[in-house]
Symmetry: D2
Subunit: 319 residues, 4 copies
Amino acid sequence: MTIGVLTSGGDAPGMNAALRAVVRCAVVDGMQVKGIRHGYQGILDEDIIDLDSLSVANILTTGGTMLKTARCLEFLKSEVQDQAADILRKHGIEALVVIGGDGSFRGAAELAQRGINVMGVPATIDNDLGCTDYTIGFDTAINTAMEAIDKVRDTSASHERACVIEVMGRSAGYIALYCGIGNGVEEMLLPELYDGNEDAIAERMLATRAKGKNIYMIVSAEGVGDASGLAGRLKEKTGIDTKAIILGHIQRGGSPTCMDRVYASVMGSRAEALIRDGKRSRVVIYKNGEFGDMDILDSLMVRKALPNDFLMMSRKLIR
Amino acid sequence: MTIGVLTSGGDAPGMNAALRAVVRCAVVDGMQVKGIRHGYQGILDEDIIDLDSLSVANILTTGGTMLKTARCLEFLKSEVQDQAADILRKHGIEALVVIGGDGSFRGAAELAQRGINVMGVPATIDNDLGCTDYTIGFDTAINTAMEAIDKVRDTSASHERACVIEVMGRSAGYIALYCGIGNGVEEMLLPELYDGNEDAIAERMLATRAKGKNIYMIVSAEGVGDASGLAGRLKEKTGIDTKAIILGHIQRGGSPTCMDRVYASVMGSRAEALIRDGKRSRVVIYKNGEFGDMDILDSLMVRKALPNDFLMMSRKLIR
Amino acid sequence: MTIGVLTSGGDAPGMNAALRAVVRCAVVDGMQVKGIRHGYQGILDEDIIDLDSLSVANILTTGGTMLKTARCLEFLKSEVQDQAADILRKHGIEALVVIGGDGSFRGAAELAQRGINVMGVPATIDNDLGCTDYTIGFDTAINTAMEAIDKVRDTSASHERACVIEVMGRSAGYIALYCGIGNGVEEMLLPELYDGNEDAIAERMLATRAKGKNIYMIVSAEGVGDASGLAGRLKEKTGIDTKAIILGHIQRGGSPTCMDRVYASVMGSRAEALIRDGKRSRVVIYKNGEFGDMDILDSLMVRKALPNDFLMMSRKLIR
Amino acid sequence: MTIGVLTSGGDAPGMNAALRAVVRCAVVDGMQVKGIRHGYQGILDEDIIDLDSLSVANILTTGGTMLKTARCLEFLKSEVQDQAADILRKHGIEALVVIGGDGSFRGAAELAQRGINVMGVPATIDNDLGCTDYTIGFDTAINTAMEAIDKVRDTSASHERACVIEVMGRSAGYIALYCGIGNGVEEMLLPELYDGNEDAIAERMLATRAKGKNIYMIVSAEGVGDASGLAGRLKEKTGIDTKAIILGHIQRGGSPTCMDRVYASVMGSRAEALIRDGKRSRVVIYKNGEFGDMDILDSLMVRKALPNDFLMMSRKLIR
């Protein structure tokens, strides 16, 4: 039996750990493994390489993805999906492991409808998949962002400045929420909740200063909007020197944390086991403290809510 | 209402985050907070200080415990427990938050039987409490150990040596298991499972070398026994240069990871909320992906099993 | 004898280590020490506190400055400098240690002309002081930037993107040069040398891609100009996806490296020793591999050149 | 022209950066490069591989050495040295770059006497070469050790314990000295100076506790002797709980610091330039703030003294 594996969408630390697990478990179970480079684009380009146990040596600890990744707009077209399924069949690939986020799983579901068995492994630093409590890369990303924000705090405190720190998260505020609590910031702006009331933020900044606390750190998710503009407007409203810091792509890289290495390994090995056991069109998930799996199309229907108790608690923790 | 708080037993990164949450939530809810220094010993010594919101500023990000900690053997005596309960009452402390491991909770349960309301917050780098899937400090400890082992791998690979790396865990192999997978080591020795068959290890070392792989890393939990001795015996049996590295106390320190900061904050705030809501003798837990609480005496009865699927998987991941 | 100490200008990791050394050495030598908060502004505000050995406990390892810092435009006026000298005398401060960069030393030189003994300790992450080969904070800043750029490389390589990474350095390219070599980037843009020829950069980007290397990392110093604009124009010229990352204030913070802790300690202790030994108006320097000191006014005249051999070498190191 | 390159002795972070510079500069200058694996042993085993620019891609940031290293006792024999020179000639290797410490340079000098041109690049975490102020790997090692000791401080302070932390350095106390200052420890034991007076240490421990400071950290270089034994004896003498921590091989590994990456790159490129320019039997050095070179035999004669001013200063910095 021959399986394919690809990484798709935004890269996330731990993708390599998951890939290594898929490959090594498949080899132990007697399968052939083909790696497809550059995500779905690589199917169309037939950019396909053989992988064995040695191919994935020394990648467990590395960020990024050795198979490269890409976003492939062309793949949204039905005729391109037909073509991709044909190419996979031509290469003898009966099952495909897709390591990526919801966009990648949508593509996988299309291939499933064209007769390719697909297994999704959730990997996105945004942790924005409703079907699973854990996604590969999130734990590394929040630690990277948190350590950067710890450093920003040093200099903000020294200058008694305010700052707006933009972290990743277009529609999901998970990174902002975890860093908000983990860094003990004065304010978090989350796309799910932000009401755009900048006057209220300015008032809280002034109230905080009035009681003698001369630092005001705001963590804002990307989806909330332009951090530089916000910093400028808050400075104007309050008279308090307010800097913008956009953490950007550093949040995607780096050697994965222990949790990301371990959980990515478990998820990769489970994807392979599902194929071996004859399951079809599943996503590996972590839910209620346990690893499991669910139908890939169903998985795309699940919505995720921010933990409200975290939010309420966080307000009590700020002096 | 006045509550007390102490940290007890081995220190764990995140204890300060939990302490900060207890104090700040209590202040918001109108309570007085007294910090007891050096664990149970501090009750006997009446080493008790007032804490307010400002007292716990800037500790969220720090390792160790600002209240200090200790192991107090004397506290095992019934008459000393009577005396401690009296001292707490004398200081007006109606409820006591105990941040620590199972030994600390046993002490708390004794105070509970003497009329003091107690709330346990699980903090131990060993993750060896059956009542909860998460304990404060474990996530930081595994990342600290993993990063150290990554470094050991560099030099072991350069010299093509074998090594035995001892991590913490007297009776529990969690740190060894997570690092074993996270570092991709060739062998893990866990106290729950290790059969003491050194000849078998030696054979696997030789078999690995025979197939051309010139590194052999063994992660061994403290409870398995003397790593230096084992390294020496394996060297003798195999002729392969084998070094012992004992990671030791570095695993207890360091700024907590994001997960440890966030979860410790949640657990501390929940302990306070339980007191505020009139609950008695509970332990805050994280189980099945959710925070909750259970009776402190019951909590001590729960056994914990190593995740067997992790173990079986890990064998397939090594080339 | 009473001495004052302040930190001024942009903060730099290691300022606290220098401060600790000044204070502890002065105490051993029987002096009184007064800390002036918020740089020169704090003289005018008489924001002055007593410091002893215990005041500076636990700051050796911390970023930022416990005395806070500020840029004080008002202090450029002659009458304000007169006033500041009077205030220092009023508080019995006979000598003042100024931890900061060239702007701070200019202020110190003005006080010297008004009869206050001043000692400069060079601290700036930009390493832009001609009088000294080492400035406090530079070593930490280059490591912080380098680690961030390592992470950016992971994701850029995964997406086979180009990127422009802006590091600090308004007029000095030291951080860009060291990171350029340390991160092995394809191109460095240094304010001392950059000719603004974006077409040439675009050509090199295309030539690199033509030979099959699908990553192109550019490190650009702040002084070279808007990184976002440059990334956009390069993308347009080349058709290669090019992202901008502005590292910003994270470069100022963080626990100092070993070199910054040790050298800052040496420099702080030397500043104190110069006062004790009756020297006047000096700057502590590190030159030709040795610590020394020179006249503070003279120090401001020395120009610094980028190491040309580093630059020429760096071109040979890129594939 | 064909040159060889090898890494020898204990590995040091930055060896790969130096190797990359040697190879890439040589390729630019039109030379062929052969890599010899496992140090001098690899000459005897003819374990020799071709290296080009691509061979050394992605190693700048990695610890260890991709050429592997070894200590080769056999190479001390004159007839073996003859044989090695013959093998190098057989492979057309006219000049050999040796990246290592003084033992490695001794071997190189023997080859030089047998007609092979040799260039030494100083790489040892111990910084124990008299000819140069900088050796590759030292800066990374002191930061690794320092960060580990920061963590030990957290837990020692929490338990109010004393500790003896053993760092590397058989005959040289540089790592102990830099960490001693950088970690602000109470006591440093350096092989160059230690008088073995344990009673005096015990007295200082008791005196420190008597004035209310309940932590006592001792950094001891490997060459001073058994840290575990010392900790035990100090505990007995003082009654103060004293733990031993042996940092061991973690000090050899890890991604190099920025200084190690940059300076190793410069030194590697200089070694190649010396060969290209027809120089013979030199060692690349960094002395008086400048890179240079000297005769390899002369280099072995230079003794190194610990900086006494650092030592005297350090005593004033401890409360």
